[in-house]
């Protein structure tokens, strides 16, 4: 029978102060790891929620006319026959003012073909003639109810009436939630035929088309689809990914995530100093015990192995606790009103923590690296005093 790890642990934890110190060390270390996990998780959550919401509202690819309007039937309708494309929907997009009870607001009117629009996006839009569906935020801001009449004011496209507005009233048939604050605040949906009729466009007019692709595994694969499709469409059309309009923001989040993670390593370093303090405290407080055990035949290698096992145990327990703390914070984030964000600033109105296995591996790996690095220095420091010096100092 060997002197077990737990026998040694019992020796070093004898006394309330040692045990409390260890609890404090684990607490501070797990809290530090949780702070980093929460920060990275929030940024990932922001990124993934935004990407999902954009995809929900725009399909996978967006085709735009380089010169504005184009003939959808002539230029793009045949694309749906390709294996590369699952479905495609045309949109007429025009800017307008929405007036409700003498309050007006600028909106982006989207004339859609409801059937194909539903196939491409995940938005639930039901429209009949002279009906309109509003983004949820604009409805809330202007206090508009379903069934209420609102007026849209468009700029006239007729040379004869240039400068005079076109006013038309619509009945609100529903609200739609895009999950992106800006879209919820600006987008309204009409039947494309209504708009074509109102502006005397040709029947197949559109200035945007949304494309739904067959299943793909990641966004890089989607870019390959985009590239392939770009060769199959007319040169006067351009093709963009669904996240293109928020590309700069998403790039900024990526860079921010990296820099903040590096800065937050400082918190781990502070927690590591607690661990160093613990090692020094125990080494000083229990040096009689350690020197006696070495006199009785315990090798310095066993002592070092013991300390490394303690450090690994502290790291492991801290990682587990930090996962718990992160989950608790995520629950609070999703449920407490205090954590609701001003969507006009943050694009999304609520954030969630979204962590991938990679995030956990990077954060836990960095924490392990720190604990081993600084732990090594502290433990090797113990070797500087010889056994005889130790015995003389401790037993005299």
């Amino acid at each position: 029978m060997k002197l077990s790890f737990f026998s040694l642990l019992k020796i070093i934890l004898e006394g309330k102060s040692s045990f409390r110190f260890l609890l404090g060390v684990i607490g501070s270390f797990s809290f530090s790891i949780a702070v980093i996990l929460c920060t990275i998780g929030l940024m990932d959550g922001f990124e993934s929620t935004l990407v999902k919401s954009l995809q929900r509202a725009s399909g996978d690819l967006i085709i735009k006319g380089r010169d504005g309007f184009f003939h959808f039937d002539k230029k793009l309708k045949d694309l749906s026959q390709l294996e590369l494309v699952k479905s495609i929907t045309p949109i007429v997009q025009i800017e307008a003012f929405l007036i409700s009870e003498s309050v007006s607001r600028g909106v982006l009117v989207k004339g859609i073909d409801v059937d194909t629009f539903k196939q491409v996006t995940s938005l639930k839009v039901k429209l009949k003639n002279d009906e309109i569906v509003l983004g949820s935020e604009i409805a809330e801001k202007l206090n508009i109810k379903i069934g209420q009449e609102i007026v849209l004011t468009f700029a006239s496209n007729s040379k004869k009436n240039q400068g005079s507005p076109i006013l038309k009233s619509y009945k609100v048939s529903g609200f739609v939630n895009h999950g992106v604050y800006e879209k919820d605040l600006r987008f309204v949906y009409l039947d494309r035929k209504d708009l074509i009729e109102l502006f005397n466009y040709t029947e197949d007019s559109a200035n945007i088309a949304l494309v739904k692709l067959p299943a793909y595994n990641n966004l890089d694969e989607l870019k390959v689809f985009q590239h392939d499709l770009a060769f199959k469409i007319s040169k006067d059309l351009k093709i963009e990914t669904f996240w293109n309009e928020f590309r700069t923001l998403l790039d900024a989040v990526e860079i921010e995530k990296l820099s903040i993670s590096m800065v937050l390593q400082l918190i781990v370093v502070v927690a590591i100093f607690n661990i160093v303090a613990f090692i020094i405290f125990i080494s000083e407080r229990k040096s009689q015990e350690f020197y006696l055990l070495r006199v009785l035949g315990l090798t310095i290698k066993s002592v070092i192995n013991f300390w490394f096992t303690v450090l690994l145990a502290v790291w492991f327990v801290s990682c587990i606790i930090s996962i718990g703390l992160t989950s608790i914070f995520n629950i609070l984030l999703m449920n407490l009103s205090v954590f609701k964000l001003p969507g006009d600033i943050y694009v999304l109105s609520r954030l969630t923590i979204d962590l991938t296995l990679n995030d956990y591996l990077i954060v836990f790996g960095a924490a392990l690296g720190w604990i081993l690095l600084i732990g090594c220095v502290s433990i090797l420091r113990m070797r500087s005093r010889t056994l005889l010096q130790g015995i003389r100092q401790e037993f005299s």
């Binding site: 055990l293 070495r294 315990l298 290698k301 015995i391 037993f395």
Partner: protein
């Protein structure tokens, strides 16, 4: 034939020369008192013999093994299996009861504790500390603590028993008991006994005495 052979040992700490060419031989089972004034180098010599420190130069052979050539791991095994230490301050771990304290060398050495425990129980009964086995060190007297310490030192039947002022912390009655006990155990198991002392009364009870002064043997 000599069991311990010390040849021309030198040891210094910084500028202080503590051992200055020490040479002697001790036979197996011999009982020796290492005496000298405080600071004469007797304890340093004892610790070097026990593998707790190394000499700057010179040779030490114990049971035909040169201990200055042993690695840290082998020295630890040597301390565990071949040497028993008894200190003035009979240091017992406060987090363990007496029986666990006495079993420490066996546990560190990975020995079969069942056999060692039986031996420890016999010794405890013989030394009158069998009632202390489940007690913690702070619950027993100084004399009892020293006897527990001695049992721990001989629990693995070491070939050498090294004692550094074993009676320094005891009254005369208990001191005599401890000296008698150490001699008795040494004789019984043919264990080489080396006792460091600066007390003439203790040294006089040993047939062989080595006197050290300023790092040299003077008698």
């Amino acid at each position: 034939m000599s069991f311990i052979k010390v040849e021309n040992i030198f040891k210094s700490f910084g500028t202080a020369q503590v051992l200055n060419g020490i040479s002697f031989e001790i036979g197996q089972g011999e009982q020796v008192a290492l005496q000298g004034m405080s600071g004469s180098g007797k304890s340093t010599l004892l610790y070097i013999l026990g593998g707790l420190d190394t000499a700057d130069s010179g040779e030490i052979e114990v049971d035909n093994k040169k201990i200055e050539n042993l690695s840290d791991e082998k020295l630890a095994t040597f301390r565990n299996q071949s040497v028993g230490f008894v200190f003035q301050f009979h240091f017992l771990l406060p987090s363990m009861n007496c029986i666990d304290n006495m079993l420490l060398p066996a546990k560190i050495g990975g020995c079969k504790t069942k056999e060692v425990k039986k031996r420890i129980l016999d010794l405890a009964k013989r030394l009158g500390v069998d009632h202390c086995l489940e007690k913690y060190p702070f619950e027993i007297s100084g004399g009892e603590q020293q006897r527990i310490n001695i049992i721990r030192a001989i629990s693995l039947k070491p070939k050498i028993l090294l004692c550094d002022e074993p009676t320094g912390n005891l009254d005369s009655k208990n001191s005599q008991k401890v000296v008698d006990l150490l001699k008795e155990i040494s004789a019984e198991h043919n264990t080489t006994l080396i006792v460091v002392t600066h007390g003439a009364a203790v040294a006089s009870q040993f047939t062989r005495k080595i006197t050290i002064e300023d790092g040299r043997i003077i008698g």
